[in-house]
Amino acid sequence: MKFMTDKSDVNEAEETAAAVKRRNKRSIAIALMLVAFAVLFYAITIIRLGGDVFNRPL
């Protein structure tokens, strides 16, 4: 009986570890997407404004 409990504990731990790994991957993917979005916005702004980026009173 003890063996069974140990086995189920091991399975549960493995499942939890796998779930945590998947969640980490999702978090990294979301973070990368947000960074890409910010870079995209920055690049679009620079390209759309062109030389006017520097044309402002200091």
Binding site: A19, R22, K25, R26, A29, F37, L40, F41, A43, I44, I47, R48
Partner: protein, 337 residues
């Protein structure tokens, strides 16, 4: 044509019968999915990558064929935004159709029926990506393009998925408009207008959609029947569907040569559209004539697969003529519009 009209009359009656019990998603039948345990790949699957690839290609052709120029990076962003917008509408479609997807062989392996992603997550992903893609496209190019993308997503979700799909066998005829917008959006991203040429590109995909999907539904008929989606073979029968495929193929092939008469396509496009169209018609006639057993399924499958190549090929020729200097040779048949 009277044959078609008669069938449509029958369709309407059958459709109301078939869909009588299905007026929206059966939320109770969806898998309970409290465990949000999907991998990144599952979320990518929600975006229907294969559909996205066709959207990327056709929008790119629209962008390149349009007169005028666009900064290469903004052109890249435009295609990216259109693709993400299409992916977002795919996620929204999977959210709404989760109840029937699980019962169809073709869609049973999608992330929601498999319990990898919850419907709420699909809805959130679709909504967020829709908003982002429209915003990015509008800011990077112009708001006509952004508006057309919003219209595409809205049309696919509200008109096709929610309204037409479970109610009428005309679902993919009218709903096909959603898949036809990408080249028009690409064109609008460069020119800021909707012109006859971009309407022509729209029309090409719009007329291509019915024979393409009806060929698929001929050999996937049982799937649709099981879940009560009134595809044409389910409500009007396979024979009527074959007649429809033939008629729509004739209209498509005739329409497909028109770009050569308004200066959108050159001699190369004219030759390609005539040759590829002739083979399309040959396969449609095969589907019409072979109606029994495995042979019938095989002919329908051949037409379905060829139709993908056909659309890709016509757009490829337009792209080559637009991109490679000297590839475009005017037909001399251009009509004054």
């Amino acid at each position: 044509m009277s044959d078609v009209s008669l069938n449509y009359g029958q369709d309407a009656g059958h459709a109301s019968h078939v869909t009588g019990a299905i007026t929206g998603p059966i939320r109770g039948t969806q898998p309970e999915c409290d465990i949000h345990d999907g991998d990144v790949g599952d979320y990518i699957q929600l975006l229907k990558p294969r559909v996205m690839s066709l959207v990327v290609f056709t929008s790119f052709v629209g962008l390149m064929a349009a007169p005028g120029s666009i900064h290469p990076f903004l052109g890249f962003v435009a295609v990216l935004a259109i693709a993400v917008g299409a992916g977002a509408s795919g996620a929204l479609n999977m959210w709404y159709d989760a109840d029937i997807d699980g019962q169809m062989q073709r869609t049973a392996a999608r992330p929601i029926p498999r319990g990898r992603v919850s419907p709420q997550e699909a809805l959130a992903l679709g909504a967020v990506l829709s908003a982002f893609s429209i915003l990015v496209l509008g800011l990077a190019t112009n708001w006509l393009a952004g508006g057309l993308l919003a219209l595409t997503i809205g049309f696919y979700l509200f008109v096709y998925t929610m309204w037409l799909k479970r109610r009428t066998p005309q679902n993919i005829v009218i709903g096909g408009a959603a898949g036809s917008f990408p080249p028009m959006i690409g064109w609008a991203a460069v020119t800021g207008t909707v012109s006859l040429e971009s309407v022509m590109l729209f029309g090409l995909i719009f007329l291509w959609t019915p024979p393409h999907f009806w060929a698929l539904s001929l050999y996937r008929c049982r799937d649709y029947e099981r879940v009560g989606v009134p595809m044409l073979p389910v409500v009007a029968g396979p024979d009527s569907t074959r007649t429809h495929i033939l008629i729509y193929s004739l209209i498509l092939v005739t329409f497909s040569v028109l770009p050569a008469f308004i200066g959108l396509g050159g001699v190369g496009y004219l030759a390609a559209s005539v040759a590829a169209g002739a083979y399309f018609l040959k396969l449609a006639v095969d589907v019409y004539r072979h109606r029994v057993g495995n042979d019938a399924d095989k002919r329908a499958k051949s037409l379905f697969l060829y139709s993908i190549f056909y659309l890709f090929f016509l757009f490829l020729v337009l792209l080559v003529e637009a991109m490679i200097p000297g590839a475009f040779v005017a037909t001399g048949l251009e009509l004054k519009v």
